[in-house]
Symmetry: C2
């Protein structure tokens, strides 16, 4: 199965390069088979792939921390309630937005940072994500499974301490990598017409697209046993018969602070980012 | 040439999948050969690749606008002083961080957004970047050249108007795609030891890494004729004999507001993002 099949997308088969094939087959892997050794030199190749991603001003404002120490892996798994996903992953990377090096370059000259601070946060976040996606795609081309660990956001302050992140650096997300013990199906995405616009942003097809996608997600069982509860907003579990597709799930996710990190602004201020 | 050669990285040749090969050969393409037609169905495949990237909470908080209208392309090229790079690109995408759909999902239910606002900005920016990198890698696997247009940041407000971006949506970067008229060499990156850390962030090798990289960049001629000027800080052009490597270039870039977008915070506030 792949994106084309799952989302029923007619396409030009001639454009299916090995790269396209790898990308459209992506599904996150959360269970790893630790008995199969990782190939020798894997980290070198993954970092080379990550470093080959574009970077604004070639500033390369990201770092990756390979967490190899078993005690540290276990501590991060516990901290984030990952039920072994981090602990059992043969390879665990923490990708960090990193403005430390550019601050060093300025510091050597005694010059102040004059660049727009909020945009710098975007630059460093984008650099990190581009690099990480290259890493993931490269790993998957080697037959490995990957999973981004976005939950790092919930404990950024603790993680910064555990990984000794200096000023200007914060953990953006993690990535578990290894041979899959279990492969998940490719998840349906929004219809292309919902995300692709021509010349101008258009909401013309949005209602229809959301309705189609809700149906698709309900059929897919992705949310089976995963109904979000928002105290005061959603019905009691036993009375919760609301059709549960993407819009309902997304509304519940974002109408609650249950999955929300605490005080990102204050944390990033403490880490040297400015907002004014 | 590729990342391994340019950065002189010994590696396990067995790990060079077609995907790794495509990724490590990346160099931005800024001149396009418009005489070669793009393959039929290209956009469909690129968007399928983009949509196959991971997304936090499966929220898919990004959109892409294909700018096909010649007048609009020309207007964006002029606005951003791109000297034809956008205008001459057979395909021009504007990638947008997009929280409109999730706001719609909340709005249908009449629920407020309770998720941490600054983290939501990171979520949407990361989603956009992951999708865009998949798109770029897929395009390059088809023999096409790509270039991220980060300069969109300089005119976000004007672009939001031109592309009719609604609340919760902003242009993150553009991407030009087409057959290359001219290929640039693969750009050297920082030594791996500068970006890869083990268990804890380490600055142990940083000074040596920066010195090595400065030498490498000076040798590479990347900065030839591209010395940044920062009035009051850098010497007059004719007296500017400072060794000009990555650290000097980066310091000059960020000690100046010359390449900095104006008022990102105010703009994003106007677009419905909150910072408190």
């Amino acid at each position: 199965m792949d994106r084309f099949t799952v989302n029923d997308i007619p396409h030009n088969e001639a454009l299916r390069t090995p790269v396209v094939d790898t990308i459209v087959r992506h599904a996150s892997v959360r269970k790893f088979d630790g008995s199969q050794p990782l190939p020798e030199g894997l980290v070198t190749v993954l970092v080379a792939a990550a470093q080959s991603a574009p970077s604004s001003f070639n500033v390369q404002a990201w770092s990756v921390i390979e967490v190899a120490d078993p005690a540290l892996k276990k501590a991060l798994d516990d901290l984030l309630d990952q039920e072994g996903q981090i602990n059992d992953a043969p390879l665990f990377f923490v990708f960090c937005a990193d403005t430390y090096r550019l601050r060093q370059a300025l510091g050597r000259r005694g010059w102040p940072l004059q660049y727009d601070h909020l945009d710098l946060l975007l630059v460093t976040t984008i650099d990190t994500a581009l690099a990480a996606e290259n890493c993931a795609v490269a790993a998957e081309s080697l037959g490995l499974g990957t999973c981004f660990i976005g939950d790092l956001r919930l404990k950024r302050r603790e993680i910064a301490e555990m990984l000794k992140l200096p000023k200007g650096v914060f953990a953006t997300f993690g990535m578990t990598i290894g041979h899959a013990a279990k492969r998940n199906p490719v998840k349906p995405r929004l219809p292309q017409s919902a995300v692709l616009h021509r010349n101008r942003y258009s909401v013309e097809t949005l209602e229809r697209d959301l309705a189609r996608y809700d149906e698709m997600m309900i059929r897919s069982d992705v949310y089976k046993g995963r109904r979000e509860r928002v105290p005061g907003l959603t019905p009691e579990p036993e009375k919760d018969t609301v059709p549960y597709g993407w819009t309902e799930h997304t509304a519940r996710r974002f109408a609650s602070d249950h999955h929300s990190p605490p005080g990102t602004l204050e944390f990033l201020r403490d880490k040297g980012f400015q907002f004014e």
